[in-house]
Symmetry: C2
Subunit: 129 residues, 2 copies
């Protein structure tokens, strides 16, 4: 066994010990997913992202960006100015991740009529049971 631990070798999402579970949760988080999508368009400053993503609070945005930065999907660049000037851009890894997310988003968006129909049918049948 090399320097890798057992934990590092587990890459099975069904296993409780799978470390990619947490990483998946991060990138699919409600606000993170939207931040990544916005950054796919172009680098953004904090406030630009805030305005781009309707409904996100500064707190939730900051939190998500911090996580994305720590995991290596997003690069944060600080300029020592007043007022603060912080810019976020996708890392190389982030740029490779985003098409997967956008594919999913596009797919679900395209399926919304069916989702709505399914919900109406389910509610008509009075689910939950």
């Amino acid at each position: 066994m090399s320097e890798q631990t057992v934990e590092e070798l587990v890459a099975d999402v069904f296993s409780r010990a799978c470390t990619s579970r947490e990483a998946l949760e991060h990138v699919t988080g409600k606000w993170s997913l939207l931040a990544l999508s916005a950054l796919a368009e172009s680098p953004h400053r904090f406030g630009e992202l805030r305005r781009r993503i309707e409904g996100v609070s500064e707190k939730m945005l900051a939190q998500g960006l911090q996580t994305l930065e720590r995991d290596g999907w997003v690069h944060r660049e600080v300029r020592s100015t007043i007022p603060p000037h912080v810019e976020y851009r996708l890392t190389e890894a982030g740029a490779e991740l985003v098409p997967h997310l956008l594919g999913l988003i596009d797919f679900v968006e395209g399926r919304m009529p069916a989702v709505r129909a399914a919900r109406a049918a389910a509610d008509r049948a009075r689910l939950p049971r």
Copy 2:
């Protein structure tokens, strides 16, 4: 304007009014994502899913399955037997959704070494700031 409402026409994830946001949250939810992945392998009974996905509680599993069923991604089939016999399988929509999810999962799994390295570097640099 036909019978569709403005809300139904909004399919922009950046908009607060976008109805696909909720649907996205559902399919990317921690346990739902895993349930969908397991059902991609084969239909499962409730207990089979529970055992397949380490770490999920019956409560969280039932909750996720209910949501997936209501949105139309999963079909739930009940047999009137004692003990209960409930089987879950992907709907046609679900079967089209799942490759997107699996692609994302595979990608993130493959990137875990880089994610771990990024975290180590970030923590060494003492993030959060």
